[in-house]
Amino acid sequence: MTCSPAIETAGLCKSYGSTRAVRDLNLTVQPNRITAFLGLNGAGKSTTIKMLLGMIKPTAGSGTVLGRRIDNPADSVAIRRAVAFVSEDKRLYSYMTVEQIVRFTSGFFPGWRSDLAAALMRKYELPPGRKVRHLSKGMRTKLDLLLAVSRHPALLILDEPSEGLDPLGIEQLLETLVTECADGTTVFFSSHQIAEVERISDQVCVIHKGGLVMDASLDALRQSWRQVDIVFASIPDQADFQMVGVERIRTRGRQMSIVASRNVEAIVERARDFQASTVDVTLVGLREIFLQTVEEN
């Protein structure tokens, strides 16, 4: 892509005392796409997102969002004018009613889409007069989403948006994200739900122990990762299969199972050299790829 990235960080670090929450993170998010941000709990997802929005100051490194520096206070305000954020907490002002918080938020954004806000209010079945403190977590999440997308942001960042939603709520969330992306909004969201990531994302970034361990298009992942199951007459040494692209080898009895990110041809070739009796090649799902990447690092 030739357009400048929506998010770009270089050597971004955040330490809390001796704990390094984010270390040397080089993250690039392309515009007009849906990018998923995966990682285990405590991998540094939320810390990274909060640094992008100016809520946490980086210890080292730099970053830009929509071309503006995240560590410059004036730039940070400009970033937040064009970026909407749905936080992990999904907590809103308990003392406001749904209607009041919609009015409150709309006041900060000249491009506020009242028609969309009204449509989503009906779609999500949010009671306008109810106090936020009396909303269920699912309703709060939907309200938070409404407040985010009605801003008509250039970039929409969501931290585990589907957490606490029922299946219908998740479906509505994904539909909203797809519509937003079709309207030209860049979507960047963290999630633990591999199934939803597999459905709507174009790109997958994996963070582990504060560093980026994978940044690939989902199509490329699906096209290149394979599992090769081989049965041998007499099992060869695992070391013989430590080849380029091999991510994991497991042996049980006379069976060997290899997960490879590429170079499948050579692996099959090698198997035949060792007189394999059967060679089966199967597809690998994103869940497997994710776990593999995280375990390996």
């Binding site: 946490i56 206070p73 907490d89 907590r91």
Partner: protein
Amino acid sequence: MLWYKAWLETRTRFLVAVAGITGLCSYVVYELGQDVTPRSTVDHYYSTLHSGHRLIAIMWLVAMSLLMMGGLVQEKAAGVSSFTLALPVSRARLMGVRIWAGLTQAAALAVLPWIVISAVFSVAGWPISLFQVRFYLLLLAGGGIVFAGVAVLISSLVDGQYTAPMLVLGVLLFCANAPRSLNSVNPLVFMSGRDYMARPDMLAGPIPWARLAANVGAAALFMFGSVKVVQNRDF
């Protein structure tokens, strides 16, 4: 819009305080008025004002400390700071609106009782000394603003919805029981007006502008400090 938020956030506290202070004023004017027949009207008048001032001051301090609570650090404890900080507003502006909203409400709460008392007095046909009322108000505001500053600072330093108000209460109690050597800097002593009494219950002499200015300066310093603290914090 931030003012709208500040109002919605604090209006329950504010209205409760208004109700409480108005109730207190009625008590001051009516109850205290009943049992002082031997004295002259003027004596009775000053004594009512003085006891009224003391009662109002205590109630007002508590109300104001609670009104000054809130802000980003308390919002973080409640999990809503992420929403506030994602708005396109600088932290200094967030703090500024909050402090001004608190001060405006505190000012309204300080003036209100004196309006009520004056109104009742004029209906009853009693004399009103504007000098006394103005002096009491300046004492109230001039001492109270220091506590407002302390409340803002504490609520910017301490997480937890109950820890901060308890600490402010602690500071108030400390000032109430502070050693005499600290009298010259104790805002509570300043508020009581005991240094400016011509008689046990009548204020006299020049208004202490210098000390008032010093108190305002100290409060401004506390507030400036709390803005700096919040600006440099991670949320």
